[in-house]
Symmetry: D2
């Protein structure tokens, strides 16, 4: 279910240009491909011969930018951002990139993720007289960098020296008048990749954004690494990098739900990972049935995996209405039509009189699953067997995902059997949490599965 279960957690894209594509337009294309990571607001900042300008607003990339606004964003360097607020209120002023002035000039910043010790940093800065105009982490990171900048020789040194005091999951893009700088937190929670388009270097949250501009994938940014791209080319600063890969904690949920299926994160194909989850599910929770259907769109890959693993035919069980906007008006109190009813219609022609295996990526509160199962039964399915391509969710995420509180997570209140009954399924199976490593071919546990296990890498 890609509709609203999780609010996704921002995406960044930057380019230091030396090609026939205008940087702002490259960012525009890249953000389009990263739109699934944030639909609330977006923005692009450019540096034109050292002069920084920007355009940002609430809305989708296709709404915020038009020919006129892109034409104004001339420049040689550009960074962009799509946002769904994880921290900070949903206000236009919290949209990114944030452009600031400090002692050494102007600076644009875009980041995703979540700073765990934001309050401590904010209080400490305020005590020395700092003022904040927004509640966004990006303003916070910028102020920390500005503080460090008074004691260092360059903006990248300021970033490197500031990183140890910033705890949490983050990818940061900085654009100074003449440089594009990128950093990934030392645990590498969120993905960040380097690409190349002729002589231009590109940095993006996911490889699908490289594909969008036909850039070739170079490599992942390493956890803790700082990348500097300027007229001299690309440089790497590894001061904050751990010694080996064992401390890396790539978010496993990126593979399960967040990332686009055509992206490759830290060497692992997302689509392949989801197919694998489906195949594992077929082994762990087999059931005799007539058809395997996905909850569109996020269950599609795992459903195909389950069909392949089980030999039961894959089918389409729902029509998804592609025209549902962000506001939906309830028809009346008496009728109590759910928003889900207008988004999904169960296709009785597929499921009538059949035993159906319905594959989804996760269950948060359970109410959406209950609604969807009701649709299937009403459409004539004789049995609905629910298979979830991830383990039961028990813990909130402090690293940039808005998985709700423990209270709200239905798996903290119900056994799988209880939940099965609650949502009206005929059987219910989750991926075994010990299988998670198989999704990413992990030899050591170099991924974060805290939302399933409570095993948090950072306090």
């Amino acid at each position: 279910m890609s509709f609203s279960k999780f609010h996704e957690e921002c995406g960044v894209f930057g380019i230091y240009g030396d090609t026939d594509i205008e940087p702002a337009r490259a960012v525009y294309l890249g953000l389009y491909a990263l739109q699934h990571r944030g639909q609330e607001s977006c923005g692009i900042a450019v540096s034109d011969m050292g002069v920084i300008d920007f355009h940002k607003d609430m809305g989708l990339v296709g709404e915020v930018f038009d020919e006129a606004s892109l034409n104004k964003l001339k420049g040689q360097i550009a960074i962009g951002h799509v946002r769904y607020s994880t921290t900070g209120n949903a206000m236009a002023e919290n949209s990114q990139p944030t452009v600031l002035r400090y002692a050494k000039g102007r600076l644009a910043i875009a980041h995703n993720g979540s700073i765990v010790n934001a309050k401590e940093i904010r209080d400490s800065l305020a005590e020395s007289g700092a003022m904040f105009q927004t509640t966004a982490d990006s303003e916070l990171i910028a102020q920390v960098i500005a503080k460090h900048r008074t004691k260092t020789d360059s903006i990248e040194d300021a970033l490197v020296s500031a990183m140890p005091s910033i705890k949490g999951a983050y990818c940061v893009l900085l654009m100074s008048p003449r440089k594009l700088i990128a950093a990934r937190d030392p645990m590498g929670f969120r993905p960040l990749v380097i690409g190349k388009l002729r002589n231009s270097y590109v940095v993006a949250s996911e490889t699908c954004a490289l594909d969008a501009i036909q850039a070739e994938f170079v490599r992942d940014v390493a956890p803790g690494e700082v990348i500097v791209i300027d007229s001299w080319g690309l440089h790497s600063i590894k001061t904050n990098c751990p010694n080996d890969d064992s401390t890396r904690r790539t978010c496993i949920f990126e593979y399960i739900y967040f990332a686009r299926p055509d992206s490759v994160i830290d060497g692992i194909n997302v689509h392949a990972s989801r197919l694998k989850a489906g195949e594992l599910l077929a082994k762990q929770h087999p059931v005799d049935a007539d058809i395997v259907i996905p909850v569109p769109d996020s269950g599609i890959d795992a459903a195909i995996g389950y069909a392949r693993g089980s030999g039961i035919p894959y089918g389409v069980g729902f029509v998804r209405n592609n025209y549902v906007g962000r506001t939906f008006i309830k028809p009346s109190q008496q009728m109590r039509r759910e928003s889900i009813d207008i988004k999904l219609t169960a296709m009785s022609q597929s499921v009538k009189g059949k035993r159906v295996i319905m594959v989804d990526d996760s269950i948060v509160r359970g109410s959406t699953s209950a609604n969807i199962i009701r649709l299937l039964k009403k459409a004539g399915a004789t049995e609905v067997h629910v298979r979830i391509s991830s383990p039961t969710l028990h813990w909130p995420c402090y690293y940039g995902t808005d998985i709700p509180t423990r209270e709200e997570l239905t798996s903290n209140h119900n056994t799988v059997e209880q939940l099965c009954e609650l949502i009206g399924a005929d059987s219910l199976g989750f991926l075994d949490k010990n299988s998670l490593g198989e999704l990413v071919n992990a030899k050591c546990k170099n991924y974060c599965d805290a939302c399933f296990t409570g095993d948090y890498p950072v306090k």
Copy 2:
């Protein structure tokens, strides 16, 4: 390919209310479900104790209507329309329903389809002093009805007596202050169905719109039938109905592409019809391959049919970007990125090193197919075998579909072999036009396949 190949051809929805749902909100839900039939403009008109009001504008249902505009549309009867212009310019004033005043009061009209003899009717009316404010057929139909109304006792009689002079494909909804009237042309080109929600009668272009408000399907409106719904209930006038079903000409393209897969038209499941097309294709054009993938979304059902028919595994070959708006800005002339590239990304993880069967619903100009095949090859597909779930297109449609001119239809200039080479496919197979009847279990040829055969039911 659901993006832009054909501009779809309007949808209508009407309700004569007697339930706990407000009629305007029922229409709102119904139009949401019919949005695939027209995205240019939409509107709703209501009659409140005999007083007709309306709201319409350019845009999607979710954009044009909000809580405030729906609240103003109080009433007991309501009709609505989603439009893609087939005739008439794309102007706000051509949006429907059209509300007019004539000798007997106000009248709201919404229609889909296309009047073949529009020019003749227009000229004849103009010669007697009529003026036209729009280029829309709905204004034309209304004027014909108004002319006939001066000689008849009721609005439905005026409609019945006007119908023989109106040639072409049309479904019309009329709302007079106290009645809801619906008519389907005598050949029944476009679908029109009757539903019931408690004591309320509903008329809609497709059954999926009945499902959207949980109304039950009653029956199809018969070709030539006029339905009158008022405080006395539902009445049928069969004056213009042919004697038997043999002259019915339901548009076969509704099954292949236009209609939503969960709709049932003239007794035939659309989804089932598409599965059947895929299965037939597998028999008619078998090929040894590794994976069957659809061009999303319109090729999905047929691809599943092909996979089932051939035994070759079904898979996902493309990621579709759900956030592509109606305007897309080209990055630069040099780069020449096509609009298709931002909408679809080929998933190399699925197709790399594989022999791929790609299923789509039709080929019009061929350029989109060429682009998509290029994406697949670039993503590593070793072979791309294209299978089209309809025959080759040769003739324009005069009945409400904007299939382009003969010049533009690539199949008029190329043999299948030439076209295969042109689009860069390794093999290409179309559904045999003699199989079309199998899609709809036809005993006699009670469907229109003129776009494939040139066999036009009306001159």
Copy 3:
């Protein structure tokens, strides 16, 4: 008081171009100068080599048109309209010019005034099958012309033959693909003038619009005259013209309030007419006082006249807030601040401790006058003597002005003495209705003063 007392009654402007100004831009400038005649909606239609296009919307000229919309309006002929609805609802579809298609092609129409027998004409047309999409008189006039066009050789002949059946006050501009046609009703209620700009002929509601494009004034259109401007130049058709000027009934209220003071109507300077009214008032209602102040802006000219006539110094008694928009939000129910308080502030520095003569153009309901007098007294005026530069209003206007019903006109319920007490004035004097002729140097009564006298020229 220019704020809202009367809704003004539309203005028209047309040009048949042959100069270096683009016709649409000339109309734009002309409409700007006529904006005081209607602020609800406006529009411009152009004919470009016979192809008619238009742009119109709700709002002021400066809001509806911008560089882009004007650039699209290429053409050699153009007509425009500013509207305040006198008949027809305040809807975008009722804005003008109205563009229609009829047997002979396209036609654009713009008119001001009011058709007295609109209902009869509408019923008669409807009985023969006509449909109406708006409630506007312009659609009605167009349909009458279209009817007549079937029996005549040219659009101008159709207009000439239609005019006798149209009763009331009107000025009409028609634009056919190749001609600009103008007509003034046979009684000449509303002004209409001809101007010339190099080789281009211009027709406009007031001379101030000629000045706006620096065109020279040629002459007034005569009552009943039809003017045709085409590639052959300007032609006059006098079929419907009365024999002499004695039946002309120019609206006297145009001089008192509606027209811009710099316009000249039927040979009489509006500003001079208002000065004269002030001078007459000074003679008819002298009073001992310290200062003469106008109610801005409509009382300014008469106040200067009064000051000159009486020898009492002219002064500024109010500051008018030029930034008051069309919506004003009341601060709270308890406080009961009137809209007038934000628009006008009494200047205590001018009036404190003084005996004030306040000059205004008319009193409709009396409540605004009462509010303004209260402001003056609160600002310290010891006496407020009100002088009104027109007689007491007693009758509604059927010729295009929205003077309210007899019920609402306070002078139908109160003697001048009662009204004086009601509004809190120390004395109150109206212009003697027998003096009206002096305002326009009338030898015979060739003006309409029905709103003062009930002496209606048309039933």
Copy 4:
């Protein structure tokens, strides 16, 4: 000329509420009355039981606020701002009030005027690591205060201790969660007054804003004074106040042009001051003529003064178009119509054949005057004698007015005689700069006339 000669310089309004008017609505009314001081953007911030919220945007008060936005601004304290940018770019993010977070909580700030040593302060703050998100002085003042707040016990003490380091002309309103604080710079360049509405204290830029909410005038804020209004009432802190009134430098241009004529600044009536200027002009530059006319609206008061002083009749020479919006489209390059032509029309009925005295407030570049005189001559004036109610302008203003550079001021390049010829006048007279004191009954030179004399009170 009130159109565009000078961009005016912001206005502030604050209320600490204890009445039946809602504070946000009081500010709304106050800002409406101060709109002449800034039309670019406006905003209101409120504190509701200690929680600060705000709404601000580009546009006029009547455009930015509506019923819905005002309803959201609940609270007991409110401050507002109208802005025309004197420093800082014209961007939405520079609009005020600015709301910030610092060590002690939230703070809203609104100011007018101009900080002379802004660059020094900015550099000094930046060196210690401060970041700036805007170019506005208000952010600068806030950061200085935040710095001082770390060393003081209260926000008002921080303001008092910060003031000596801030050089220039400014009035500041601060709103902390529980207090309303106001300060006027020690030289008192810009006006700031205290009013009272029942138990509520009000602070505003001009007395006309007190009148707008029917508050009574209490007194001017003294130069250097800090006013604190909280639940204990109003307190005054005079730490930064000079010993006597001799160092006060109220801007003389407030009297000549900026302020609304109904305001009273530092004890002097603005309207009276302008009448006086007109009377002085009549004595200093008498001429034999037939009529005295103002350039509307800013020349009206002085023209009346001139008429009274000279005995020559006052008249109306121009019609001002009240509907001219902020964008005006030029008709064509060839025609070269000036923007002024659409705003003002010379009234030939007033000036034809007459010797005219035209009174305006100032001449900056001379081009507007030349255009206006051209209009008068074209309308038939035989002579145009220009009288300016201020001395010749020679020096830029560093205190919040955007008087242009010395280069652009025509009086730095031309003698009065040359200028007279340049603008096409028959005679030209400016107010003697030695008379300026008479406008404000000055005993010592307690006003700033640097723009006329170059005698700057602050370097």
